[in-house]
Amino acid sequence: MGSFVPSNPKEREEMLKTVGVESFRDLYRAVPEALLLPREKLNVPDGVSEPEAMRAMETMAEKNRVFRAVLRGAGAYWHYIPAIVGRVTSKEQFLTAYTPYQAEISQGVLQSIFEYQTMMCELTGMAVSNASVYDGATAAAEAAAMCVDRKRSTVYLSKALAPDVIRTVQTYCWGANRQVRLIPVKDGLTDLEALKGMLAEDSAAAGVIFAQPNYFGNLEDCAGLIELTHQAGAKAVMSVNPIAMGLLQTPGELGADIAVGEGQPLGMPMGFGGPYLGFMCASQELFRHLPGRIVGETTDAQGKRCYVLTLQAREQHIRREKAASNICSNQALCAMTAAVYLAAMGAEGITKTARLCYDKAHYLAAELEKIGLKRRDEADFFHEFVTETDCAEKLLVALEAKGILGGLPVENGVLWCCTEQCDRSVMDEVVAICREAMA
């Protein structure tokens, strides 16, 4: 058993004596007798040594299947993680630090977040970024709250957002008694005409949230969506893939009010769903409405440049029930992960990686089409696409047998994803396996 308590029995005796009690039980004097739990009533086995615990963890890890290639995205992406990323983020000064409220001894963490904020602004083209939220889904939910004011409370969600994002925003809106309306999808894209109709009859439209690329990998007519949104007096929220920003028009260029997204592609392992990183950027007009922590530059008593957590009067510990969000801990180490990743890749690396994702996905789509797996939609796409098939399960099982995680089964088809890690040889293999399975 290891409790990580350093003191030995003799020292504990001395300490108890200094405190003036006889035993540990005496320390719990204030707890009503009926509530104190004898060891035998706590149904948790005794502890074990480190090697035994590690063995147990390894045994569980071994029950999982690690695929040699992953052609599945839908919210979690198989990108290469540079070795330097893990080296930096496992430094214990970063790993084991608390939130940097003591600026004098936390400049390293604070500066890294300031650098992260700058990089996210560059990536999205927006004016300001916060220090992160939990993940892409909660970032969208927090963005919905930013759009709402006394007069406008209806949130519009494209049905071409990831299902987890839609469900999360719905939950947050239900909590705060806000109405959510879902915008239908047509030909794999958010239906502009339908949105136009919905907004025309609604004077309480607060915000419109859509994804670029969307859940199906397709590229939306962002300019059109943003124009409609602004005509209705609502705010436009774009949920973007950060790698795609190396190639695609940014929310900033398009005039979006808020940009959010899932930061996992920026150096975080897929990790069975987390921890990931929710990034949130906003236009200059909206920066005070950003939730969560924000780092700002200032000077110290000697006039030296330094960084602090700032604009804290927006936050829960000061505003209490009037705060726009309750968020405290965010994903600081994941934000640092993203910053190290972006710095290691550089602009050229991000752009080339985006291009590789794009080219490989288009190669696979073309090859699959040759064997009869046609794309469902005609829209332009980035690195994900849907092929129509009524035998998805058969294909995926065949791929699984060869150590490949194929695309995600969706309605009438399969949602594929290609990253820079998908070698042509693997994609050719995928096509061959599918052809065989379909025969």
């Binding site: 040594s49 615990a53 608390y98 769903g273 700002g296 180490l333």
Partner: protein, 479 residues
């Protein structure tokens, strides 16, 4: 210190992008990015040194004593990190077929089983990513419960004035009105005020026990009874669970829903402000509303279920899974006996440090504390002008982290110490000696304390300037 952008040199780079092995596809011209992407350009040496330099200006649990009250900055065992790095966990796609992730689902299931035992809850979700997210989820569960019973007049959440600011903020996010009730002298719930506050509009009560003064509320059974009799539910804020882990259980005290901070009580690293995990446990009557998906054990193995009455999702996928892996590894090592030992020693360490400091400063409460205690520097401030902030900043000069300052709000010059069980007697002796010397210096050399810190990388920052003229990103103007 230079910003990473100021170190950037054109053309410096790491070798990270593979050569293309497919033909270039044509790009949709009107969708293309036009603005320049300005990211730093660095070789790996330069990048590595930049972050090493930053790390020298950061302070983690491994750098020294970290008595940050209510934050439970205990040691983060190295083995947890090894477990989280196992490829069989780290490389899993969240949407793999269930048959290929049985081990990962077992992690969630076993962690749930153990934590339900430790808290006397019936079911648990790991979807919430942090304590505040757990509070939000727990309160949504209370909302879902009342709505399902068509008891929708219950719109009020009672929160003691000593509570952390997150409690009322979370309640507001769930559409509840917050009713603040005063604390008694020990920071506990004022029973008469509670009786007066409850009624047919009461949705629930949020409580931390031990409270923010480090005192276990001896009336806890009566408190939860009063709320239940009024038709409300009781929410336990698990921030201070480290005081009682394995020795007393919120479920036995009458709580219906609870959040835990795995990054506090269960030793996962705080990462400079996350990622954490805010697991939420519930009694049976709330289980139907838990977020989905939720792991269930069946004859055929583990499966993810979406209960019909589930309130939905509060986050994508299953929460911060790799944080749960770390916490489970820790729980396996501690076991039931280790958990009891850990919390007992957390309480012992706090009381021991309290005894060592008491001769030099008033303690906000009388008698024994639980895992933390609050020094009240009100009299010292009046006599010497030295504030809680001054002493905390002077502690930084001595190579320690500061305690929590100015919280709870009911003590005006508060310093809240939580040493945790992973500190040795020697560390506590030395820390006490240092803090006592500072408390004495308040009388002999107050100027030194006003000017502290002087040996840290920077002096006190100008927070007013930062907030009045926010500079929230690098401007690239020098380039």
């Amino acid at each position: 210190m230079k910003l990473i952008f100021e170190r950037s040199m054109e053309g410096h780079q790491c070798s990270l992008v593979p050569r293309s092995d497919v033909p270039a596809a044509s790009l949709p011209e009107k969708q293309m990015r036009r603005s320049t992407l300005r990211l730093p350009e660095l070789s790996e040496t330069e990048l590595s040194r930049h972050y090493t330099e930053l790390s020298k200006q950061a302070y983690g649990v491994n750098d020294g004593f970290y008595p940050l009250g209510s934050c439970t900055m205990k040691y983060n065992p190295a083995v947890n990190e090894e477990a989280a790095r196992l490829k069989g966990f780290a490389a899993l796609h969240p949407l793999q077929p269930e048959s290929t992730v049985q081990g990962a689902m077992e992690v969630l299931y076993r962690a749930e089983q153990i934590l339900c035992q430790v808290t006397a809850m019936d079911e648990m979700t790991f979807q919430p990513a942090a304590g505040a997210h757990g509070e939000f989820t727990g309160l949504l569960l209370i909302k879902a419960y009342h709505e399902a019973r068509k008891d929708s007049a219950r719109r009020k959440i009672i929160v003691p004035d000593s509570a952390h600011g997150t409690n009322p903020a979370s309640a507001a996010m769930c559409g509840f009105t917050v009713v603040n009730i005063p604390s008694n002298a020990q920071g506990g719930v004022d029973i008469d005020a509670l009786r007066a506050a409850v009624g047919e509009d009461t949705a629930g009560l949020m409580l931390t026990n031990p409270n923010t003064l480090g005192i276990f509320d001896p009336n806890i059974l009566e408190i939860t009874k009063i709320v239940h009799e009024a038709g409300g539910l009781c929410y336990y804020d698990g921030a201070n669970l480290n005081a009682i882990m394995g020795n007393a259980r919120p479920g036995d005290m009458g709580f219906d829903v609870i959040h835990l901070n795995l990054h506090k009580t269960f030793s996962t690293p705080h990462g400079g402000g996350g990622p954490g995990s805010g697991a939420v446990g519930v009694k049976k009557q709330l289980a139907p509303y838990l977020p989905a998906p939720h792991v269930m054990k069946t004859e055929k193995g583990f499966t993810f279920e979406r209960a019909a009455q589930s309130l939905g999702q509060v986050k994508a996928f299953y929460g911060n899974f790799l944080v749960v892996v770390r916490a489970l590894c820790y729980m396996l090592m501690l076991g039931g006996d280790g958990m009891q030992e850990a919390s007992e020693n957390a309480v012992l360490n706090a009381n021991y440090l309290r005894m060592l400091l008491a001769p030099n400063c008033k303690v906000a409460t009388d008698g024994l504390c639980m895992h933390e205690f609050v020094l009240d520097l009100g009299e010292i401030k009046k006599e010497t002008g030295v504030s809680a902030m001054d002493v905390a900043k002077a502690m930084l000069d001595e190579g320690m982290h500061a305690p929590t300052m100015y919280f709870p709000l009911i003590v005006h010059e508060a310093l809240m110490f939580e040493p945790t069980e992973t500190e040795s007697k020697q560390t506590l002796d030395e820390a006490a000696q240092t803090v006592n010397a500072l408390l004495q210096a308040a009388f002999t050399d107050p100027e030194r304390l006003h000017n502290a810190p002087s040996r840290t990388p920077i002096g006190r920052p100008d927070d007013v300037q930062a907030a009045r003229k926010p500079v929230l990103r690098y401007s690239f103007e020098n380039q």
